[in-house]
């Protein structure tokens, strides 16, 4: 028996059942993470730092790395301030990585669905099928002021718009059938125009003619990620999401959220098995539990106030975290976790080098990527083209 695999770590579902993503935003999830030694805070926007983090996540065969984004500067004066455009970061990281998915957060409140569609399609092309889109929306005054002329939206309105945007973005991805390019020398035709489709979208908030200027992405449709806790968010996730991030502090709460998401998917006419539910887990790791607690105290001390997390929070050993992961997955409460390392410079390495091997040795987590695309890794089929289906 490996030291990584205690007796109570067993697999009930096999290694394809567990999905693990990791959030690479800022210096980590804790606001004071950038102030710890080794955080490389001065290199926060240095792409080589990000390349190294992606390589670490890829070494652990994690499903994806994710980058948060937003149009306003982080308000927290003592935290990290400043952001790079997440879609461009994901694209920059694509050519020198393999296997790992790249999740970019892109807003729907202040952007054009046509631009969002081709941006995500392009990340999918340059990564050979490893892009995903975390659908975001904005209700802040600061973001509205940055673009002018639009009053801030309330959450319900912003979510409805996100729903429309996700709908039209998906249609634009489908607006090129996979075999639209024919290069038929005899007739002089490069494309079969019958396989290019005007989407003719007439929504409440915008109209988009189409087709896209970018051929259909390798995954057909890059997976859509939605953070969902409130009712409106869960309905949106049920309609549009392939991966749903929920917040839950207990196994029971996670199970309940997952059931809600499944119900929402069913209500939208979808098979709940096509929706992967991940729980956000904040982690502070060390080889001894007391050392992990010391690390958290140090962070608290720097910050001056207690760390407020809104989901499962693990302060302890990698082995104990592996047990929790196994327990929640085996109980059927979740499909996996969205890992939020308190400090990227410390907790990501420990997660990949200690937690992942324990899960692998227990037969719970993959040791190789099953295919080349993120959909392969997530076990999601490549979606049929809505327009091809309509004309078939």
């Amino acid at each position: 028996m490996s030291p990584h695999a205690p007796n109570n770590l067993t697999a009930l579902h096999g290694p394809t059942a567990l999905h693990l993503g990791v959030d690479l935003t800022d210096a980590g999830a804790h606001p004071a993470a950038w102030r710890t030694s080794g955080s490389q805070a001065a290199r926060l926007f240095d792409v080589d730092r990000l390349v190294a983090l992606v390589a670490t996540a890829q070494r652990g065969r994690l499903d994806f790395v994710a980058f948060d984004d937003g149009f306003s500067l982080q308000p927290h004066e003592r935290g990290v301030r400043g952001r790079l455009d997440a879609a461009l970061v994901a694209s920059r990281l694509a050519p020198r990585s393999a296997g790992i998915g790249l999740v970019a957060t892109v807003d729907t409140t202040h952007t054009e669905p046509f631009h969002v569609s081709k941006a995500l399609a392009t990340i999918d092309h340059v990564s050979s099928g490893r892009a995903a889109w975390q659908v975001a929306w904005s209700t802040e005054q600061a973001a509205a002021s940055a673009f002018g002329r639009k009053a801030p939206r309330d959450a319900a309105d912003a979510i409805e718009q996100a729903d429309e945007a996700a709908d039209v973005v998906g249609r634009l991805w489908d607006s090129w059938e996979d075999d639209a390019e024919i290069r038929d020398v005899a007739t002089g035709r490069f494309v079969d125009r019958d396989k290019l489709h005007h989407v003719d979208y007439e929504g409440i908030r915008f109209a988009v003619k189409g087709p896209s200027i970018t051929p259909r992405p390798p995954q057909g449709r890059p997976p859509v990620v939605v953070r969902a806790d409130e009712d409106g968010e869960i309905e949106l996730a049920g309609r549009r999401a392939d991966v749903v991030r929920v917040h839950a502090r207990t196994l029971e709460e996670a199970r309940d959220k997952r059931t809600q998401v499944h119900d929402a998917a069913r209500a939208a006419g979808r098979d709940p098995r096509d929706v992967i539910v991940l729980v956000d887990v904040f982690v502070v790791l060390a080889q001894q539990e007391a050392a992990a607690e010391s690390r958290l105290w140090l962070l608290q001390d720097l910050e001056g106030v207690e760390w407020q997390t809104d989901s499962l929070t693990h302060v302890g050993t990698p082995a104990a975290l592996a047990e929790t992961v196994a327990q929640w997955v085996n109980a059927g409460a979740v499909d996996g976790f969205h890992v939020r390392p308190a400090s990227l410079s410390t907790d990501l390495d420990l997660f990949v080098d200690e937690v992942v091997p324990a899960l692998q040795e227990a037969g719970l987590f993959r040791t190789e990527y099953p295919g080349s695309t993120l959909r392969d890794t997530l076990g999601l089929h490549r979606p049929a083209n809505v327009y091809a289906a309509a004309t078939a």
């Binding site: 301030r81 461009l88 054009e112 940055a146 673009f147 002018g148 109209a207």
Partner: protein, 456 residues
């Protein structure tokens, strides 16, 4: 005195009939490998930049999507960001339309590209008032033609204000003091203009270049003034020697009005190169390429744009149509600017030309759409490129290949070394940023400020 240095960029083959897709070795227009090949080969040859164009609506002809040319392209900025991963020095330039984008979003995307590429970003600014393209966007085709440069100017002003709102050294990461940003080094922007409102504290660190290099391509008097006031590079279509010199003098002559030196704006015409071991062989290759670019179907479609009516019943290898053009058929092709207001004089002139030379429809189209370009041996082409630059018909060229992705391999392998031997083109990069390659000052230096002295 040192020789005037040539600046060269490569243009990824475009979405138009210049790009020949019927050759067996014509590669993918969308696979990343095609873009990587051209960018890396150009970087091996020490070129200034890679260039990617944009078009935000698929063209339509006779009410259906135009299917004769290559179609489909990536999104400009994510593609350039990906190229930053596989290159180290070459500039990364792309077209982005000001009409269908907001400066807050654009400024953060270009700042991000500049950060991610170590200072290699360039923005080819284009404007549009085209309601056809506007149908893809929530704002639609609301912008009157006369206001497109007014909006573009305001978009650039706001973008530059946003880039300047972060000092170069704003990120202090002072862990002891708990200050990630240096106090006073990031300042709010508050702009309320005719076309743009942008208010708040910008999100993204300033790139190594301060401002990405700004390209501009407009050729009207308004466009030329805009370039003289605002741009770092003019993407020109005047690729013949005489037209090039006239344009060069005109645009450089406008710079003084804006308090700028003649060196602060580079004029780079787009051009093509066809090589052969002998001049005759090159000419024969050029003739074959022109026939590939103008297929029989393309020739008929081109005529239909002028005639404004369906001409598919005519044989492209036969004489010009005897029907008269439809004066009101101006919109038979959409998504491409139609320069002809009244087709009748054009048709009359073409009939005369075709009769005088015995040209078929296809031959006529080949002749009237020919844009020149350099045809000859490598030595002849190197001579000509150098002459244009030394005699101020241009500051260099943007090379447009006809094949994806290998279309410029021969030029990079044979013509560039000859230019290097003459001392007219760099043999190594002397700097790391595109501003360095083009000999353009950092914007703070251009304003007489040292970067470190731009205090809050």
């Amino acid at each position: 005195m040192a020789r005037k240095q040539i600046h060269l960029g490569v243009h990824f083959p475009g979405v138009n009939n210049t790009t020949v897709w019927t050759e067996p070795d014509s590669g993918s227009q969308i696979d990343f490998a095609s873009f990587e090949h051209l960018a890396r080969r150009a970087e091996d040859a020490k070129l200034d930049f890679f260039f990617l164009a944009e078009g935000l609506r698929l063209r339509e002809h006779k009410g259906a999507i135009h299917d004769l040319d290559v179609v489909g392209r990536p999104d400009t900025l994510p593609l350039l960001a990906a190229l930053a991963a596989v290159t180290d020095r070459i500039g990364l330039a792309g077209t982005i339309n000001t009409t269908f984008n907001e400066p807050w979003d654009l400024a953060r995307q270009f700042a991000t590209l500049d950060v991610l590429s170590g200072g290699r970003a360039a923005w080819n600014l284009v404007t549009s008032s085209d309601a056809f393209t506007g149908e893809n966007f929530r704002r639609g085709g609301y912008l009157p033609y006369a206001e497109r440069y007014a909006r573009a100017g305001e978009v650039v002003d706001v973008a530059r204000a946003l880039w300047d709102s972060w000092d170069d050294d704003a990120v202090a990461a002072d862990a002891d003091a708990g200050q990630f940003l240096r106090p006073g080094s990031v300042r709010p922007v508050d702009h309320h203009g005719a076309h743009v409102d942008a208010e708040g504290t910008f999100t993204t660190p300033r790139g190594p270049q301060g401002h990405p290099v700004l390209f501009q391509a407009g050729d009207s008097a308004d466009g030329r003034d805009f370039a003289a006031a605002t741009a770092d590079v003019v993407f020109s279509m005047h690729s013949t020697f005489d037209a090039g010199r006239t344009f060069y003098d005109d645009v450089k002559g406008r710079l003084a009005t804006y308090g700028r030196s003649r060196d602060s704006l580079k004029i780079l015409p787009a051009t093509t190169v066809v090589l052969g071991d002998t001049a005759d062989e090159a000419a024969e290759r050029a003739r074959i390429i022109r026939r590939q670019q103008v297929s029989p179907q393309t020739a008929i479609a081109f005529l239909e744009q002028v005639w404004g009516v369906d001409l598919t019943a005519y044989d492209a290898e036969g004489p010009l149509p005897d029907v008269e053009p439809d004066v009101d058929g101006a919109n038979i092709t959409r998504g491409r600017v139609r320069h002809i207001k009244d087709p009748r004089p054009v048709v009359a002139q073409w009939r005369e030309l075709a009769a005088a030379h015995g040209w078929s429809i296809r031959e006529l189209v080949i002749q009237v759409t020919s844009r020149g370009g350099f045809v000859g041996t490598a030595a002849q082409v190197a001579d000509e490129i150098d002459r244009y630059v030394q005699e101020d018909a241009s500051d260099g060229f943007i090379l447009v290949p006809h094949l994806t992705p290998h279309g410029l391999d021969d030029v990079l392998d044979t013509v560039v070394p000859l230019l290097q031997e003459r001392g007219s083109f760099r043999t190594e990069y002397s700097g790391t940023t595109l501003r360095d390659h083009l000999g353009l000052a950092h914007p703070d230096l251009a304003r007489g400020l040292r970067p470190a002295a731009v205090a809050g």
